[in-house]
């Protein structure tokens, strides 16, 4: 077996040391910085891209959320304004009606007072007239004069007052 020929061992060991150390130099000085650098760069690029994508997604979501919030806000405001207007209008209508009611009530009251006064006056006139007529009738029939007061009392009495 050529492997057991010990005379070949020194040159093999010498060149193993030379080539192995040369490879160690290349690997540690060139291969690891180069390859490791590329792998690290790729990883950081991918991570950066993913982070960027996540940020953009978050931004989009925020925009959608703020849009929805603004929309809801606007809706609420519109409703509030509509409600306020309705309440104001209702209040105005109510006030107008109340004023109108009050004015009408006052007018009715004065009119009623007038009617009552005219009636009272008319009634008084009637009883005065009746007293006059009665004293005239009594004079015509009896020829005797009666006092106006007596006639008025008699009329009042017959009118059931």
């Amino acid at each position: 077996m050529p492997q057991l020929d010990m005379s070949t061992w020194p040159p093999q060991l010498f060149w193993l040391a030379v080539t192995f150390l040369a490879l160690y130099y290349v690997i540690s000085r060139v291969a690891i910085p180069r390859t490791g650098g590329v792998i690290a760069l790729r990883k950081s690029t991918i991570d950066g891209d993913l982070a960027k994508a996540k940020n953009l997604k978050d931004e989009t979501e925020n925009a959608v959320r703020s849009y929805e919030a603004a929309l809801a806000d606007a809706k609420a405001k519109a409703q509030a304004i509509a409600l306020e207007n309705r309440n104001k209008l209702n209040a105005e209508i109510e006030a107008e009606r109340a004023k109108l009611d009050a004015a009408l009530g006052a007018k009715i009251a004065t009119a009623e007072k007038k009617v009552a006064a005219s009636r009272d006056k008319a009634l008084e006139d009637i009883s005065a007239m009746a007293a006059d007529i009665a004293s005239d009738i009594v004079q015509q029939l009896t020829g005797s004069k009666i006092t106006k007061a007596a006639a008025t009392a008699a009329v009042s009495k017959s009118l059931g007052k």
Partner: protein, 249 residues
């Protein structure tokens, strides 16, 4: 087999492991000749270096870049899974070990090439570097507390001497198993391929296609073994280093 000598040469599965001195060099009585083994070690290291140097640095990797990055990430993952916070220190060494063994194994599958890792002296040297290195680091980090590695916790006192003996033996067998596993896998695989290739020539056009088909399958298997053995060597190195870091496991 026309002549016995010719036929013997073709089916001699051991011949491929012979070391040939391409450029004899002797320094101070020590033979450091440039051999076929050294040539293929240089080729392996050159190919590995070129892979990492020529691989582009694109955000979306090219095919060559993917190869370099896959090797890097495979070793990065095993070192970080096993060594955790100490991974940074030993990652260059483990990556070098993995790349060296991987390229030596895979290039050895090329016909007429030489498999550097099919020699026990190479794999034993690598294993001893790992073993002695891990042992020294273990004593530096833990002092004599490193000896606790041989005394597992939760063992009945009666069995303790036996367990300690087994632990010590298994610890010193580590470089043996590490080196013989790689060397034997490489040697056996290459011998098998050579024997099959010999059958193809022997049987000729009539029946030679049968071992040829088998060789295609074996070649795939050997490619797998070449990568797997490099992986196993790197993984076990990480585990031995991990033992040196954390004695209380």
């Amino acid at each position: 087999m026309a002549t016995p000598e010719h036929g013997e040469k073709i089916i001699d599965p051991i011949h491929q492991f012979v070391i040939e001195r391409l450029v004899p060099i002797h320094v101070g009585g020590v033979d450091i000749s440039f051999t076929n083994s050294a040539l293929w070690a240089v080729i392996a290291v050159t190919c590995a270096s070129l892979l990492f140097i020529l691989a582009p640095r694109n955000l979306i990797p090219t095919r060559l870049q993917s190869v370099a990055e896959s090797i890097y990430e495979l070793v990065y993952d095993i070192t970080h899974d096993v060594l955790h916070e100490n991974a940074r220190t030993y990652f260059p060494f483990v990556l070098t070990l993995f790349v060296f063994i991987l390229f030596a194994n895979v290039l050895g599958l090329i016909p007429y090439s030489f498999t550097v890792t099919s020699h026990i002296v190479i794999t034993l040297a690598l294993a001893l570097v790992v073993f002695i290195g891990a042992t020294v680091i273990g004593f530096i980090r833990n002092g004599f507390g490193y000896l606790k590695l041989f005394v597992p916790s939760g063992v009945p006192t009666l069995l303790l001497p036996l367990v300690v003996l087994i632990e010590i033996v298994s610890y010193f067998i580590r470089p043996m198993s590490l080196s013989i596993r790689l060397f034997a896998n490489m040697m056996a695989g290459h011998m098998m391929l050579k024997v099959m290739a010999g059958f193809v020539v022997m049987l000729g056009v009539t029946a030679g296609w049968l071992p040829l088909v088998a060789m295609v399958g074996l070649m795939g298997l050997e490619l797998l073994v070449a990568a797997l053995q490099a992986y196993v060597f790197a993984l076990l190195t990480c585990m031995y280093l991990s033992d040196a870091m954390h004695v209380d496991h």
